[in-house]
Amino acid sequence: MGLPNPAIKKGINTLIKFSNVTHFYNDGQENKITSLSEINFEIQKGDFIAIIGANGSGKSTLAKHINGLLLPSQGDVFVENYNTKDPENIWEIRKKIGMVFQNPDNQLVATTVEDDIAFGLENIGMEEEEMKERVDWALNIVDLNELRNSEPHLLSGGQKQKVVIAGALAMHTSYLVLDEPTSMLDPKGRKEVLEIIKRLNQEEKITIIYITQFMSEAAEFNKIILLDKGKIILSDYPKAIFKQVDLLIKLSLEIPQITKLARQLSENGLNIPTNILKEEEMMEYLCLYI
């Protein structure tokens, strides 16, 4: 059983709900493998959530359940009261939820940036004028106006991911689910993508569900859900999660260098909290000693 998130108040704002979700698949040799086990959590409007876990912990499987790319073997997933299991709901759900995956090259289809962003709109038969308006708006939000006529494959990795994000925005999606969107990017691209999704959450009020195995990235979010072997084992604020460094190491998660240092100094008798995440904080404590 997943622990209830203390940050989530039960109520009308629940927009995505996982209710006792279990998922298994067949490994091709008649073994049933459980990839998600009794998952329960709720996402509210405007949430800014990171889901973390090691390779094989079930993060991507969970992400694919949000928009019905995968369906629960047991239990239900609701998006604004639509059950993903009901085939009649699936297009309504996918319109609301934009998905961004690891490799942008797999998601880019058109020969110019603006055509790529318009692709989804064309598919739903939108009138040209409105389509143009939406593409302009989406391009502006992700700061790619100047590159609108460029060929997507000539862009940097970070820019490519921004085109994918803009494509989802143009559909007026209310949620973005990003599955390790920075894992193939360099540090500059990583920063660009993180900045843009922060802005989307704060200014456009888009609910963000961000999957990562980098603790340093997860630290930027309001809440963290921690997965291991298909189960939710913690669900809390970053500071509370980072108190459990031993657990995080045991689960094979990446610990920021600053947190590692704080821990080692604390073991050597310095009075420094072991859940420090950021450099500035560490500087303040160290200045008491040196």
Partner: protein, 285 residues
Amino acid sequence: MFIHLKNVFYTYNLHMPFQTEALKSINIMIEKGEFIGIIGHTGCGKTTLLQLIDGLLEPTEGQILIDGIDIHKDRNKLKEVRKRIGLAFQYPENQFFEETIYKEIAFGPKNLGISDDKMKDMVKKALAMVGMDYYLYKDRSPFSLSGGEMRRVAIASILAIDPEVIILDEPTASLDAQSRDKLLALIKNLYQRYNRTIILVSHNMEIIAELTRRLIVMENGRILMDDTPRKIFQESIEKLESIGLSLPPVTNLMYKLKKIGKPVNSGILTVEEAKEEILKIVKKK
């Protein structure tokens, strides 16, 4: 094996509308047994450089000399060089295609005309080098492995031909901390115990600072710096920042403490070193 890139230029689509100069006047000498890190932004020419060293690309201008011989003047030498250098591209497991791990690893030696008997030994040895048991893994499908295991098999398939120089392009991308640490221990072992020359490209500054002995910083197709990581992370911080490259977090922390007048040494490369340095100062007080 001694590698010498002598005033090398490389231009993509030469004499075509999209002509791009990827590398400009590159001069590098690589001695046997070095552990070299290469850093720089995407598009700075790192991958092109690796492909030139491996003999996959021919320079537009300049020479690549291996043990003093220009590999593009002598086809036999080029062939021999390709056997002595192993290059693992990013996400090497994307190139898997065989049914079993044995066949996957044997693919390289087979192409070199190795006999079946000898091949078995080579596969065994390669798997041992990446810390995997031959009998446990040989008949399994490479596609049934975890991400970390796949990466190790991909590297084993490069080690099978027993290269003297091993080039790794972002080998830890997408791996979790445990798989990453295992892989890094393996790379360290190849360097220390097997005395291989290692060339490692990574965006991860922590890994670069901890493992490499020499660091090459690239920017816009040129070599901007070529020195020990300690010296670069101590003396060229502002230059690194000006081209948008970051420092390992503990290196940056110590640098900032020094900048506000604290009596610490900068040029710290690892968490362990930072801890020692801080405790030393605390004890003095």
